[in-house]
């Protein structure tokens, strides 16, 4: 007996005008047939807008089908009688950790579900205890959710669902807004629930690495299930996945590339261990006598112009002199050269955002100096407002700052504040919008009508339009799907190459950064721990791991291979480099 079963499920979003006439119909789900057995760990993959979240809401009876039927534990969700029983059977965890916590204390929030379904008082307490323990959050039961990290909040949300004792739990992109540490914690908690309590899990995600351990995968596109199978079956067809701009784990991609280059390794490799075994089995080990030292190829160091920004022993403390004093930046000295493309990496709370907000004077250092083109920005004479236009800053989730009636006007906002005349404002806005490749027909649309990715581009254009000499982007890819992420990063790289701007990219994803930047600054506890080219930095992959950061998967693969006696380049950071190095080592 399957726990979830859908037959020809169709969902249409109907937009009506003021008189109630149908304006447009958007088919979000198009005849979806799907079957989930109890105890399975299921993943649903797909882009934003592929219908996966709409499907999730159907399992929870938050939406009811336009056509077709969906049964949860043999209950038809269209039947009002079952609504609450369905929601109890299949609990749901949403994407944004802040927007699903109702109470101001952790345990009261976990109790919210059981209270709603009328569980007797004594039993609520038992359930809350049990649920918090399951996700490892019992230590925080009397804390305020506002003081927790994203990953912790998400685990509280999972506990809140578990307290209703569901048979099945649906997680709608639960890790999209988390840093790598938080992601790992949440996934661990979900896997434990599946393994130890036999809870059916439906994980909706666009991170491929999260899919690898599931029993069965559905890939959705345009409201349809277009691929399904075990992870191994799905990742077999790397080309097809790439065609649909879905991500593939780096290891799988590397194995695929090697196979394409003629190596005899099995199809579809999912883990580092499998790849290592396959390559070892090839028995092509060339333990060249005496050649134990790894020849790392000399790097062509690019040369850059003068220093644009210099931090001279800058420190910053939050609420200095109080019990809440936090040192966010600890004696940082750095220089940033004209035309550099820099990645600033660190986990949440490492001081990376604080660091970049100093560069355009939004935060004033409590100690030390910052120089912009040789001038002290804390000088009385210095025009800090001008600095903000010289050093442009794109914040995390920049689309949240859109406010005008049209996209074009919104982009014009920056140039207008710069005091430029109307003609120049329009020119700047037009240029910026062309640079971010936003389709022209959207220029006069309301920014609130755009899709997530488009909104983000419009917001980035709003900063570029001021023609900053230095462009800072704080987590520009947060919450985007793989395609959106690649588009935005490509765009930034393109702009950097075309205009020669200095670009500073703040991120917690090593893989994102490795492919694009010239220099990486790793922040840890308010201090730059490493500063150098990607290769130099990733050579410290073991230390990076201790900081809660992970080097790109290929770095691990290469080091595995070296440990196994292969003569490969330990400093390869991209799949292409890794492939070339392995091929070279093997013949």
């Amino acid at each position: 007996m399957s726990i979830i079963r859908s037959k020809d499920l169709v969902h249409e979003y109907i937009r009506r005008d003021e008189e109630g006439n149908v304006e447009s119909i958007h088919t979000a789900l198009d005849h979806v047939n799907l079957n989930v057995e109890p105890g399975q760990f299921i993943s649903i993959l797909g882009h934003n807008g592929s219908g996966k979240s709409t499907f999730a809401k159907h399992i929870n009876a938050l939406l009811t089908p336009s056509e077709g039927t969906i049964w949860v534990d043999e209950m038809n969700t269209s039947d009002d009688e079952y609504t609450f029983a369905v929601r109890q059977t299949a609990g749901m965890v949403f994407q944004n950790p802040d927007n699903q916590i109702i109470a101001s204390v952790v345990d009261e929030d976990v109790a919210f579900g059981p209270e709603n379904i009328g569980v007797p008082t004594e039993e609520i307490l038992v359930r809350v205890d049990k649920s918090l323990k399951m996700v490892g959050m019992q230590k925080y039961r009397s804390h305020s959710p506002n003081k927790l990290s994203g990953g912790q909040k998400q685990r509280v949300a999972i506990a809140g669902v578990m307290a209703m004792e569901p048979k099945c739990i649906i997680l709608d992109e639960p890790t999209a807004m988390l840093d790598p540490d938080g992601r790992a914690d949440v996934l661990r908690a979900v896997h434990t629930l599946n393994r130890e309590k036999g809870i059916t899990v439906i994980l909706i995600t666009h991170y491929m690495e999260e899919v690898v351990d599931s029993d069965y995968v559905f890939v959705m596109e345009k409201g349809k299930v277009f691929m399904e199978g075990t992870p191994r079956e799905i990742f077999k067809d790397v080309e097809l996945l790439k065609e649909h701009s879905l991500d593939v784990p780096q290891v799988t991609l590397l194995a695929h590339e090697l196979r394409k280059s003629g190596l005899q390794i099995p199809e579809c490799i999912l883990t580092r261990k499998e790849l290592l075994e396959a390559l070892t089995k090839l028995n092509l080990r060339k333990l060249a006598a005496g050649q134990t030292s790894v020849a790392s190829k000399p790097e062509d160091k690019k040369s850059f112009g003068d220093n644009v920004l210099i931090l001279d022993h800058a420190s910053y403390k939050y609420s200095p002199g109080t019990a809440y004093e936090v040192t966010a930046l600890d004696d940082v000295s750095l220089s940033i050269k004209e035309g550099e493309f820099i990645g600033v990496i660190g986990h949440t709370g490492s001081g990376k955002s604080t660091l970049v907000q100093h560069l355009n004077g939004l935060i004033k250092a409590t100690e030390g100096h910052i120089y912009y083109r040789g001038q002290d920005i804390y000088d009385k004479e210095f025009d800090i407002k001008d600095l903000r236009t010289q050093v442009g800053m794109v914040f995390q989730y920049p689309e949240h700052q859109l406010f005008e009636t049209t996209v074009f006007k919104d982009v014009q906002f920056g140039p207008k504040n710069q005091g430029l005349d109307e003609k120049e404002q329009i020119k700047r806005a037009y240029e910026a919008l062309t640079l971010v490749k936003l389709p022209e027909e959207l220029y006069l649309a309301s920014p609130f009508e755009l899709s997530g990715g488009q909104k983000r581009r419009a917001a980035i254009a709003g900063v570029i339009a001021m023609k900053p000499a230095v462009l800072i982007l704080d987590e520009p890819t947060a919450g985007l799907d793989p395609k959106g992420r690649d588009d935005i990063l490509g765009l930034i790289k393109d702009m950097h190459e075309k205009r020669g701007d200095t670009v500073i990219l703040v991120s917690h994803s090593m893989e994102d950064v490795a492919n694009y930047v010239d220099r990486i600054i790793v922040m840890d506890a308010g201090h730059p721990a490493f500063d150098g080219t990607p290769k130099e930095v990733f050579a410290h992959y073991k230390e990076l791991e201790k900081m809660g950061l992970a080097a790109p998967q290929v770095t691990y693969v290469m080091n595995d291979l070296i440990d196994a006696g292969f003569d490969v380049d330990a400093t390869a950071t991209t799949v292409t480099e890794a492939r070339d190095s392995i091929l070279k080592a093997l013949n």
């Binding site: 929601r87 927007n99 949240h400 906002f413």
Partner: protein, 266 residues
């Protein structure tokens, strides 16, 4: 800067005050306010002051934390104080140009500002020691009789507790959007009143949009967890009076008697 507002925030600690029934705290706050405004001589003022500080001591909330909540209304306090000081007629005790301070003015100013300060500290003592959920539970239960008059007491208290939960989040969001617009050259400080109001548009529009988005998300999350209004709901910690609460009520009654006895005698 905006994060430092402590009004309406809960301070987790273990104390007698924290474990009291919210209804007791609501009632005592009401009593406190009434007596505070019936103060008309120094002895009564001393009684209120000593009681309040005794309770603060019992609450295990650091005093500095409460004072912080006052910062946000300092301007209001100063203005109110100055008005009282200069504009109350009476026997002039000091004059400087057109400014005169009368004896009544001085007395009123001191009384007024100290009343305001005590009022804020007293009420924030309640919110600091009571979680918003307990507080709304207390209100819901205390005002339960109004349900018969078709007042949606449960719904109102639910809205209140959600509002309280989202205040810190929205404050943080305001801070973030403000910075983002400042990075685009927006100016929130200079200009006259009208210009200032106009300059707030880039801050307020995104804030409203985000509040609506959050409300939408939250309504889904609540529905997904079987929320269906107040009917048939149980409580993890139903309000039940303990012997501690009884003793507290006795203390409150004793306080009222002492206060009004002193007031009548003096």
């Amino acid at each position: 800067m905006l994060r430092e507002i402590t009004l309406g925030q809960y301070y987790p600690a273990k104390s007698i005050l924290h474990s009291l029934d919210p209804r007791v705290k609501l009632f005592s706050t009401l009593v406190f306010i009434i007596t505070l405004f019936s103060v008309d001589n120094v002895v009564l003022f001393a009684i209120v002051l000593v009681t309040l500080f005794g309770i603060i001591k019992m609450s295990h909330v650091p005093f500095s934390f409460m004072v912080k909540g006052l910062r946000s209304i300092v301007v209001l306090l100063i203005i109110a104080g100055l008005f009282n000081l200069f504009l109350t007629p009476g026997i002039t005790i000091f004059s400087f140009g057109f400014l005169t301070i009368s004896d009544v003015g001085l007395k009123n100013a001191v009384l007024m500002t100290s009343r305001m300060i005590l009022l804020i500290i007293g009420t924030s003592l309640m919110t600091l020691t009571t979680t918003p959920n307990q507080l709304t539970d207390g209100l819901e239960k205390s005002l339960g009789f109004m349900k018969r008059a078709n007042v949606p007491v449960h719904e109102i208290s639910m809205m209140m507790s959600i509002a309280l939960r989202f205040i810190p989040i929205l404050i943080e969001e305001t801070d973030k959007i403000m910075k983002a617009q400042m990075a685009r050259g927006a100016d929130f400080e200079s200009g006259g009143l009208i210009k200032k109001a106009k300059n707030m548009v880039p801050l307020l529009v995104p804030l409203f949009v985000s509040a609506f988005r959050r409300a939408n998300d939250l309504s889904y999350a609540m529905e997904a967890r079987c929320y269906n209004g107040g009917e048939g709901r149980t409580k993890m910690r139903p309000l039940k009076y303990s012997s501690l609460d009884q003793r507290a009520y006795i203390c409150i009654v004793a306080y009222i008697i002492i206060f009004y006895a002193v007031k009548v005698v003096l």
